[in-house]
């Protein structure tokens, strides 16, 4: 751990937490009882999840004729939801992998929950293509199985098969990355349970912690594995959404057949993913009492990324419009005019307002430094990004080459039920995760305490304690470093 204290940045951990305090705060949510807010959120999520399960059962029993899809609009809410959920998942990997490579320390407080979000979001995403098959029990046809099994080999030239490989790799690698980080935290809960004599927790977390003891050699290997996994996950996350975009871009439908789709989709995914991380973390800091760990500085950092990705997504929209005009292809031009002025103009307007205009408000410091406004904005962006996918899919399909087959898409209660249901299942899983798993990567947070803990910043302000000769005091350097830390804390109390 380096002892460099930033002069200009605000602390990452507030409330003068010591290393032991971090342990107590993180273990509290696992060891203690859930509060009222947790039960309320959990109740709502379970009801939505049950509705979703009912609609999924109905779809499997009756077939996808129960959806609003028709011959012209063959892909609608299902694939919209699929891309939306996959996109949401991407922020988790970005936070834990890309920010790790860039050594962004603010990721520590949110990476665990963002990774959990990734896993649950990818699970929800996987559900939609599975259901859209109509006969989900034949889903194994998408696996490379021998001809004798009853079908041909899969076609490796198809982006849909790339999707199968990309998403399953992404899901398993994300789970491995997430679990690896959890091992030392499980060990912490195991040891606390052993001291307090809680046999059940001792056994359960003992099993989950794989016998982690925190040996110096294990930590060295752990760090190396985390770094290499981050290096692998970073191109993986870009490849996954590029491949998802090729499901469209490799088709010949005007409005889909666009070369900017891969980067445009990846940026959109990060944009929506960060919005969802904001939504979740702002709720979580209240429900789980994590105000000292998830601070306004975290929210502001995420808002910066939202401005960047939101602006890039906005310029992708405009590039798309320009290229359709510049191409001189009338079908292409019509697809885009129809999007903006056709019967789905309202969806296009929602998309443009939520995705292009609303993130620009974050240029104002007051707005990006407000929990409430950030929360509301994150909901807007989630809605906007859902509509982006809806606009791309439905408006490109509903008026095809043959005007006699032009039609509109109307969702049925089953479409709505499955979408709301996946949100319910997602939140149910996330809330359960927040109860039984440590929601903050405590080992990593402890390692940045000297750089990011508020007690090292002097009396509550962000000024670093400075010696008379102007040299920054580094607690570890002086022999009485530890004493001076304690004094410092005492003074503040």
């Amino acid at each position: 751990m380096s002892n460099v204290i930033s002069h200009i940045r605000e602390p990452l951990v507030l409330g003068d937490r010591t290393v032991h305090d971090v342990t107590v705060d993180v273990a509290k949510s696992v060891e203690g009882k859930a509060n009222k807010w947790w039960w309320i959120c959990f109740g709502v999520a379970v009801i939505a999840a049950l509705w979703g399960v009912l609609c999924i059962t109905y779809t499997i029993a009756v077939g996808i004729g129960s959806w609003g899809v028709n011959k012209t609009v063959g892909w609608a809410w299902d694939i919209t939801n699929f891309v939306w959920w996959i996109g949401i998942g991407h922020a988790g990997t970005l936070i834990s992998a890309v920010l790790l490579l860039f050594r962004q320390k603010w990721r520590m407080a949110i990476n665990r929950s963002a990774e959990a979000m990734t896993i649950f979001a990818v699970m929800m995403a996987g559900l939609f293509p599975l259901l859209h098959m109509g006969r989900p029990w034949l889903a194994f046809y998408s696996l490379p199985l021998p001809n004798q099994f009853g079908e041909l080999w899969v076609n490796f030239n198809s982006p849909l098969i790339w999707d199968v490989f990309a998403i399953s790799t992404y899901l398993t690698v994300s789970i491995v990355f997430w679990y690896l980080g959890l091992i030392p935290d499980f060990a912490m809960i195991r040891d606390r349970a052993r001291v307090s004599g809680n046999k059940l927790y001792d056994n359960v977390y003992g099993l989950l912690s794989f016998g982690w003891s925190g040996k110096v050699r294990d930590w060295a290997r752990f760090e190396e594995v985390s770094l290499v996994l981050a290096g692998l996950a970073t191109p993986l996350v870009f490849s996954v959404h590029s491949i998802v975009s090729m499901d469209f871009a490799a088709g010949i439908v005007p409005g889909w057949h666009t070369t900017i789709f891969p980067p445009y989709f990846v940026l959109g995914a990060l944009f929506s993913g960060f919005a969802m991380v904001l939504t979740l973390t702002i709720i979580m800091r209240k429900v789980m009492n994590l105000e000292n760990y998830i601070t306004i500085r975290h929210v502001e950092s995420m808002n910066f990324i939202i401005i960047l990705t939101g602006s890039l997504v906005g310029s992708a929209y405009i590039t798309e419009l320009f290229i359709s005009w510049y191409s001189g292809v009338e079908y292409e031009q019509y697809a885009f005019i129809n999007r903006a002025t056709g019967p789905y103009y309202w969806a296009y307007t929602i998309m443009m307002t939520c995705n292009v205009l609303s993130p620009q408000l974050f240029w104002f410091k007051k707005i990006r430094n407000s929990f409430i406004i950030s929360f509301v904005m994150s909901i807007f962006i989630n809605i906007g990004m859902w509509f982006e996918r809806f606009v791309i899919i439905v408006t490109s399909l509903h008026r095809d080459y043959l005007p006699s087959s032009w039609t509109m898409f109307h969702p049925t209660f089953v479409d709505i039920g499955i979408f709301v249901g996946t949100i319910g299942i997602f939140f149910t899983l996330f809330l359960l995760f927040a109860r039984v798993f440590p929601v903050i990567a405590q080992a990593e947070t402890k390692s940045i305490l000297k750089e990011g803990g508020s007690q090292y910043y002097g009396n509550g302000s962000n000024a670093t304690p400075v010696k008379e000769d102007g040299v920054t005091e580094e607690p570890g350097e002086s022999e009485d470093g530890e004493d001076s830390e304690e004094n410092n804390t005492d003074n503040e109390q």
Binding site: A166, V173, W219, R221, L229
Partner: protein, 183 residues
């Protein structure tokens, strides 16, 4: 030879010392001083990773990254074999008048899955290697001698004979260990 010698010394050493530190910077200094005094450190248990501690203890840099590269290459090889066999050798499909009779001509559309196979094998292979090498597996019991080492304490474990134990305890005390016990 040196390893065997060390083993003999360790089996002869009868005194176990636990030096507990609360500050990672003090621990790092303490470890350096112990090493400078020629004292062999049996193990250090840490609640969180300490930058530079592995080199201070004298550990060699882990070769897991090399393993990851080898696994990645194996993954790419497996992926290429799979796709080549299925789509080129065994059953070349004619899709849209574009039969896949040659691996090279299909290479561009095989790239995404080659990459995914590489990442899949590298990530899983490396993690499995790490877990097996460090013996961190389901059902394994933990060996940290003090439960506080997963909370906020660093524990330096020494196994020494009486004479060396005395000087080691002095160094531990001087370098800021908050507690020294004999297990």
């Amino acid at each position: 030879m040196e390893r065997i010698q060390r083993k003999i010394i360790q089996t002869m050493s009868n005194k176990v010392i636990h030096g507990l530190y609360q500050d990672d910077a003090l621990l790092l200094d303490g470890v350096k001083e112990l090493r400078a005094a020629g004292i062999e450190i049996e193990e250090i248990y840490c609640p969180y990773p300490v930058h530079g501690l592995d080199t201070a203890v004298g550990l060699r840099h882990t070769r897991l990254a090399i393993c990851a590269f080898i696994y990645a290459m194996c993954g790419v090889g497996l992926g290429a074999t799979m796709m080549g066999f299925m789509n080129v050798v065994d059953w070349p499909m004619n899709i849209g008048g574009k039969p896949s009779f040659s691996f090279v001509e299909n290479m561009t559309s095989f790239m995404p899955i080659l990459f995914e196979c590489g990442v899949f094998c590298a990530a899983h292979g490396m993690v499995l290697t790490f877990l097996l090498r460090s013996w961190i597996l389901p059902g394994v019991s933990n060996t940290n001698p003090d439960p506080r080492t997963t909370d906020d304490m660093f524990l330096v474990l020494l196994k020494l004979d009486e004479k060396a134990a005395k000087s080691a305890e002095d160094i531990l005390k001087k370098s800021g260990a908050v507690e020294i016990n004999n297990g």
